[in-house]
Symmetry: C2
Subunit: 571 residues, 2 copies
């Protein structure tokens, strides 16, 4: 039944991502057949294709790094590791959010870092920060550059200059303790690189966010990431055992003794700190035996609510598999449309015969030894008894696994067709999930319909917990020509307001960055922000670390009332 | 096989603990038969019995609360809820650590709070704190008063007066969401009270520290507690979903959305904050279905190292039961001596025939539905195959369960006989566990032997994790007449130094309080302390909240160099 575990065995690469989109453009395959007509039937006629401006036409600002600061940085990292060519600056001009791509594609990167500094180790990171404090240079920590929330936006915040501190040279697996199932990583290892090194020891981290191919270990922890198999292996928060962090005030090391009652957990203060306190330079994480086999299987639930109740039953029975994803009716319909033709018709007829008219796809995935997978699969099947689900077998499940990291490439295709596609994610308790789902869908649909660009809104549950689950929304609509960012902002703000009004979290795994910072007062209260500012004051008193991220500036005009938006020229 | 789950179904009580020792003295049964001769053979001849002074002879300081402050507090809580009688002050003069009991028994309570204030709800707590800020009154949060590390020591730290803020009136289960398996508690519920209320909904918190009968929910979270079944149900850190906290700066509410990436986890900042930031007034925790049955079973391992390897194998196989405890050779020998006589001789012969001369007792316990217990028991037994353990059956396991909360009473018996008994706990990785064990034992043994009071040192593992385990040490020695506290301090300091020298944590579940605060620089570094101070500055700028706990004062004479000791008159 189970197959060799290989759906996450991606070939590691050091190559940078393309500056205007995701990953390696040679991996793009165009829009799926039939996608255009499917979309036009739902969101209206698409315009003419649009392509990004050529790289040389992208505007960056003049380099603000003065001679003394430049020399001091070069003294730390060497001439070869201070980059300030046009391409490098554009490649580090931000992350991969929808607003990032809209601006980059039209040639806007005026806020690009003045230079990219690439330290080799903790000591060089520490000395780089000392130089930056002395010369009043803002520091944007840069790992994979995959942030979709503005987490690596070069916000100068009044500093003389700004560098991206790229940890890409720090990519060693520094130690492994197989008997403890722990491993210590440098921050710049990308997901597949880390997995390849762990595989030599028969181990896995088991962390597979959609950004896995380019995201780094340091980024996982800095953003409090969750991966596609985190129901089985745990969120990154659960895996952090020890951290070494270079801060402007010096080294901070936390995480003694596996489990402790020695005061508040300072690992939790660094996890999710988004580079605002310092740079994570060594990360000791819990790892797991590498799975020998994996098995993905698809089911269909008769409604999203019914499928959610089934997921809750699985987790409460201790029978939730490593991967557990439930698509709503519209996301399932979109997936079926991509299958298309006679196969989709046959499937719909098969389901109709079983009373299911608006199916919701449920993908479950197990990993481990053959015996573990067999045992856990059996437990899940037992827990599914009496629940209204119809099995579709393994091919739909395997097809999800095969395409698990493809989503971001599809976004580039849609952008080429003048289509906005954006995602957001939240989480709440099981008891509040239905109301939250309805409210966010309505906020997105109403807002975009009012603007004359009716959206297709898709949703899935991808992470389940005893107390609740995540909701991951995708919305797709025609771009408003010349008002792309206002359009995006209106939809994002409406959805975010619906989320906080329903006591849900503003982000389940994308982090805060810039896009969510103005909802942080709703999330943790003004006093919660004060607590975080208190920490920042002590570790980063000059405020050079990743300015403008995570924490709304208390006295800035972009406070909660106005819900400010990413820096950059007006859209 | 399994029995109805009732070993934790303790009759709830509101009665305060006896002022000079543990719990309800009518529950004491004297030293076990043969204990005296067993001890004398190991630690030397015991002196004459000693009893605590009568309550009326206990010295407390004059009440420093001025008329205006007293009136302001009474305006908040009412006359009946401000207590300043002699008995109440003595009962709130500290916790239940060994130094606490030594001082209390000889009549020293000069630092007792000026008054005990008992608010009814969050609003009254908040207003009490406002009065205390205004009148410069230090506030010691008081739950069960079970701290064994000086966590509720009345340290005045230069304030005009000091109150104990007793949360004993706040003991409602305010809400339950069975579908989310969550419950919201007020802080003053004692363990058995909380369990009795949850049982009405078929639920359990599953948190059973040895202090369970008197410890409170608020105290569990404030001290980052772990319970005897935490291998199954999780440490309290794992169960905290949401917290409401009254701070001197106002209300702080954290914990939206079940799981989040919205910045650092502020729940982790309050969990383990030991009352230094505010008072937890509402706690939303993950709960579990109440177990229908429980099953405890005993095994014997041929050595502590072999038993530890077996526990590691169980946790790595995902087959560690709810309760997993391994006693070392001396702790097992002490337990066998308590059985005594023909039964113990027969057992030793049985084990010798199986090649085990110095047995190590392993107690495993499963809880759940009959099907769960049967399934998990079978998984454990499978994982035990090929490991060198000998089964002893259920009676020794059930006997552990029956006595699971008796330890503190035995301490009072030993104190009556002039015997020091103290415990400390730590944790580290599996790969470092053996060296840590040896070093702490040697530190305790050498220190006390040099003082002419050779100790009996016992140890067990009580909590296991994928990466490592806890070590819980008990040491027993004759008290040094008139130098009880110096003797204790010498042993405690030697053991603590051994712990930090081995990169282990200074406390696995007892918390920091006063006794461990001078090792906090080893635990989290000076910069880690700075981070915590940054938070405290923002939430408690006047510093009234539980002064002297958790954080060493940076400029006080009792800094890391001198390893200061609890306040109070010289011993």
């Amino acid at each position: 039944m189970a197959q060799p575990a290989r759906s996450t065995a991606v070939e590691p690469t050091d190559a940078p991502m393309v500056w205007h989109g995701w990953g390696d453009p040679t991996q793009r395959h165009g829009l799926p057949a039939g996608a255009r007509s499917f979309l036009e039937a739902r969101i209206g006629p698409l315009g003419t294709p649009r392509t990004p401006v050529p790289l040389e036409e992208v505007r960056v600002g003049p380099c603000a790094l003065d001679t003394a600061a430049r020399a001091a940085l070069i003294e730390v990292v060497g001439t070869a590791n201070l980059l300030d060519d046009h391409r490098s600056r554009v490649e580090h001009a931000g992350g991969k959010s929808y607003p990032d791509l809209v601006r980059r594609r039209r040639g806007e990167a005026v806020t690009a870092p003045d230079a990219i500094v690439r330290p080799a180790d903790h000591g060089q990171v520490q000395r780089t920060l000392e130089v930056c404090v002395e010369h009043r240079i803002a520091v944007v920590p840069f790992g994979g550059g995959t942030s979709v929330v503005g987490g690596v936006e070069p916000e100068r915040a009044g500093f003389e200059a700004l560098i991206a501190l790229d940890v890409g040279r720090m990519r060693r697996l520094t130690s492994v303790e197989p008997g403890d199932r722990t491993a210590t990583f440098e921050p710049g290892l990308r997901g597949p690189q880390a997995e390849a090194l762990l595989a030599e020891h028969g181990l896995t981290l088991g962390h597979f966010p959609q950004s896995y191919e380019y995201a780094t270990i340091g980024g996982y922890v800095a953003t409090r990431s969750a991966g596609q198999a985190s129901t089985g292996y745990g969120r990154i928060d659960d895996l952090v055992l020890g951290l070494r962090c270079a801060t402007p005030r010096g080294e901070l090391r936390v995480g003694r003794g596996v489990a402790t009652a020695a005061g508040p957990d300072l690992r939790a203060l660094l996890t999710g700190s988004e580079g605002t306190l310092g740079i994570l330079t060594e990360l000791t994480l819990q790892v797991h035996p590498a799975p020998e086999v994996e098995h993905h299987e698809a089911f269909v639930a008769p409604s999203f609510a019914s499928g959610a109740a089934t997921l809750r039953a699985l987790v409460h029975a201790g029978a939730a598999p490593h991967v557990a994803r439930l698509s709503d009716e519209d996301e399932t319909g979109t997936a079926l449309a991509q299958i298309g033709g006679a196969r989709a018709r046959a499937l719909r007829a098969y389901l109709r015969a079983r009373g299911i008219r608006r199916p919701c796809l449920l993908v479950l995935g197990w990993e481990g030894t053959p015996a573990q997978v067999a045992g856990e699969h059996a437990a899940t099947v037992t827990a599914l008894r009496g629940r209204r689900v119809v099995g579709l077998g393994t091919s739909a499940g395997a097809s999800w696994a095969a395409g698990r990291f493809r989503g971001p490439y599809l976004r580039d295709e849609l952008l080429d067709h003048g289509v906005m596609v954006e995602t957001l994610e939240t989480a709440t308790t099981w008891s509040r999930l239905g109301a939250l789902y309805t409210a966010v869908r309505a906020a997105l649909t109403d807002t975009l319909r009012r603007r004359g660009t009716p959206p297709l809104v898709l949703c899935h549950i991808s992470h389940v917990y005893p107390a609740g689950a995540s909701l991951y929304f995708t919305w797709i609509a025609r771009q408003e020509d010349g008002a792309e960012l206002e359009q995006w902002r209106a939809a994002k703000h409406a959805a975010s307001q619906a989320i906080v009004d329903h006591q849900a979290t503003i982000t389940h795994h994308h982090a805060v960055g810039i896009d969510h910072r103005d909802w942080m007062p709703d999330e943790v209260g003004e006093l919660g922000l004060e607590a975080l500012r208190g920490v920042k004051d002590r570790l980063d008193p000059t405020g050079i670390m990743n300015p403008g991220k995570l924490l709304p500036t208390p006295d800035a005009p972009g406070g909660p009332a106005t819900r400010s938006t990413p820096a950059g020229p007006p859209g």
